[in-house]
Amino acid sequence: MEIRGQTAIVTGGASGLGAATVRRLAALGARVAVLDINENLAAQIAEEVDGIAVPVDVASDLSVASALETVRSRLGVARVVVNAAGTGIGRKIASSKGPHPLESFRRVVDINLTGTFDVCRLAANEMLSLDPVTDDGERGVFVNVASIFGFDGPVGNTAYAASKAGVIGMTLPMARDLAPYGIRVVTICPGVFDTPLARAETGDAGFQRILELVPFPHRAGKPDEFAQLACHIVENSMLNGEVIRLDAAMRMGLMI
């Protein structure tokens, strides 16, 4: 699907992978809605790309519904939706600190998994009413952000890994559900990228230690490299129902 002229939604669009995707989508001619819990940052990015900033807490169904309504009234129904909103918590399931708090597990799953699902179900429902834009009958595409943590399961990440494995697991059934309507679903599993979330999760020393494990290129991924793949997915109609690792061949062993 051609990006030019489409309305795009990027959740978590105010920073990190989301912000880079906002910039690239806008550079390719999309009208972009920056959905983020951080209103100020969202407004800055939106202004930069001549898009709109819409506050959203993806863990709240009312907030998601209202944000989508705002997008529809101002930019029209989005055909491109990138779910980049996410959070993490580093905690072992049990340790000398006691059991993993259930509340923080629920919080991570609410944002990363249920939040992604909520945005997808409501945005897909709006897309159904649009006319197809290609000879294939394509109406739209979802790019969801999981993580290599969803496969590799590093220590201290049960909540994050569970939430991202959930996003991975939704990919194929969602693609199959939406195929009759010409809507594709593809998931990207980033490895270590230089984002506020990654640095907050690991700390500077931890971040450097993790980078030692990256085969090639032996560095953190740049958010724009994520954006490059996300935009390719939008443009390449044969990519559907697939989960793509974008990780410089990294596999996380036991040492983290």
Partner: protein, 256 residues
């Protein structure tokens, strides 16, 4: 990596996915050497994209070495290698037609798996002697073609599935072997694409398969494969991964 002006070596480059990728890369400023058993066809494609046509059967080490030497002499070492040469047979393991001929199995493995490995090892060695192309220390990328058949295992495809699963299995260790030299390895697993190889599939199978592609419900086009190949070349964070490009197809037991 920035691919303009680089040299690509493409096996099976005279038709199908190989030719599709050659056209996509040539349009991006890559000089393409097309290695194929069918020299006449390779010449036709080469003439169209100002490329180089070389006779080569990937089961023949001397032929690969000779072709590589010619490419290096003409243009310098290839920095992009696409292993698109492949063959297929449709024979069941055992049944009313007798046991699967061992020779047919070995022939498919010889071309698809060992041929891919052979081209990869020789071209990687040539790349290692070259200077890095960018600040990441990147020297090149090797792209292999597996198939969704490797994971989905349709009936009558035991040899093809084994050979392509082998290609899938080589991806990560090869990426890890070559990471210190700044060479990436990525595998693409196409679904149903409109190629001469697919033209060998009996019509009743094709009629049964295409309706099982969720979306888009049609043959993949070699240029869509080519667009993904280009993205893999350009995006340095893609490494050690296999990407399905298949319109979300998963082959069930219906194909018989």
């Amino acid at each position: 990596m920035n691919i303009r002006g680089l040299v690509a070596l493409i096996t099976g480059g005279a038709s199908g996915l190989g030719a599709g990728a050659a056209r996509a890369l040539a349009a991006a400023g890559v000089r393409c050497a097309l290695l194929d058993r069918n020299l006449e066809l390779a010449r036709e494609v080469a003439a169209e994209i100002d490329g180089l046509a070389l006779a080569c059967d990937v089961v023949d080490t001397a032929a690969i070495e000779a072709a590589l030497a010619t490419v290096i002499a003409e243009w310098g070492a290839p920095r992009i290698v696409l292993n698109a040469a492949g063959i297929d047979v449709a024979i069941r393991t055992a049944g009313s037609k007798g046991a699967h001929p061992l020779e047919a199995f070995e022939r498919v493995i010889g071309v698809n798996l060992t041929g891919t490995f052979n081209v990869a090892r020789l071209t990687a060695q040539a790349m290692i002697g070259e200077a890095p192309l960018n600040t990441d220390g990147e020297r090149g990328v090797i792209i292999n073609i597996a198939s969704v058949v490797a994971e989905d295992g349709p009936v009558g495809q035991v040899a093809y599935a084994a050979s392509k699963a082998g290609v899938q299995g080589m991806t990560l260790p090869m990426a890890r072997d070559l990471a210190p030299f700044g060479i990436r390895v990525v595998t693409v697993a196409p679904g149903m694409f409109e190629t001469p190889l697919a033209s060998g599939i009996p019509q009743e199978w094709i009629d049964a398969i295409i309706p099982t592609v969720p979306f888009p419900q049609r043959w993949g086009k070699p240029r869509e494969f080519g667009a993904l190949v280009r993205q893999i070349c350009e995006n340095p964070m893609l490494n050690g991964e296999m990407i399905r490009i298949d319109g979300a197809i998963r082959m069930g037991i219906a194909r018989s």
